[in-house]
Amino acid sequence: MNSSHRGLLFIPAGFFLLMLLLLGKALFWNQREIPSALLNRPLPEFSKPTLDNPNQTITAAGLRGDILIMNVWATWCPPCHAEHPHLVRISENEPDLVFVGVNYKDDAEAAGEFINTRGNPFAYILTDVDGKLGIELGVRGAPETFVVDREGFIRFKYEGAIDENVWQEKFVPVISQLN
């Protein structure tokens, strides 16, 4: 009828803009972090035989009290081969940390051969032949490395091969916080 009616047609756009402002604001309030599957959770309970002595078993509770670097590896995994020498050097430089290897879905003989010829960075090597521990840890592939604090909580998880750069950038800050 007249121009005042046209003004009414702007109401929906106005409402929409208000709502958009609200949603935009809410988007930044609720920046919730999604931690990876097991982050900040206790290490799952397990009891696994070691690689060198199948009669000796290691439990999660038995490992508590130290900061653990748990490395999931296998001989069938090419990045693990690449990672190994770095891991050996890093473990030599970090005497305060307990390096635990989880030999994942692997052949024990081949794994023993691998360690014997290339050096052993680990204090303990657990064998996870059926991959059950891997599943409990939410492992998606090898290598993967977990940092576990003294109370037995997983604090950090890294997927992929580690070298000195990765160690300095990703692991050192996390570990220094735990000390």
């Binding site: 919730r32 972090e33 900040n40 959770r41 206790p42």
Partner: protein
């Protein structure tokens, strides 16, 4: 134009009546449906009344879950590591309910200080820390509570 004016009047009356009805409904709806969020600390400080719908968030205290009674009644302690609140719930717990993990409960505060939950909420995504639990823990932390580990 007389007919048109009369119909316009009817329309205005209808709009007014409808508006009043909607506002009345809205008022009732908010009274019944709104849950105000409180942390265990705030409840301990007496900030929440017994006559309103509440939503509380916190961690289920380790070892506090009692479910051995005769019926289906359950009792556990929700904590923000600063204050505890005892929660009573009658029914089936959600699949993701676990000790040492976050919980959100809706219900009312009883005279004796326990919280009678109408509903226990669980998230479908385990990785997720509900906003309520996070707020409760952060608030408690700022007051000096020692939070052991964010375990949710």
């Amino acid at each position: 134009m007389r007919a048109s004016r009369r119909s316009r009047l009817t329309i205005v009356i209808f709009i007014l009546l409808g508006g009043v009805a909607i506002l009345f409904l809205l008022r009732t709806a908010f009274d019944e449906g709104l849950n105000v969020f409180f942390t265990p600390t705030e409840i301990a400080e007496g900030k929440a009344g017994t006559n309103q719908n509440l939503r509380i968030g916190g961690m289920v205290k380790q070892g506090s879950l009692k479910r051995e009674g005769e019926g289906t009644l359950i009792q556990f302690i929700a904590t923000d590591f600063n204050a505890d609140i005892s929660v009573v719930y009658d029914g089936v717990l959600p699949d993701l309910f676990r000790e040492g993990q976050g919980v959100v409960a809706e219900g009312r505060l009883q005279e004796d200080g326990t919280f009678m939950a109408r509903q226990i909420l669980a998230k479908h995504d385990e990785n997720y820390m509900s906003a309520e639990v996070k707020t409760a823990l952060e608030a408690a932390e700022s007051k000096g509570a020692a939070i052991p580990a964010m375990q949710q």
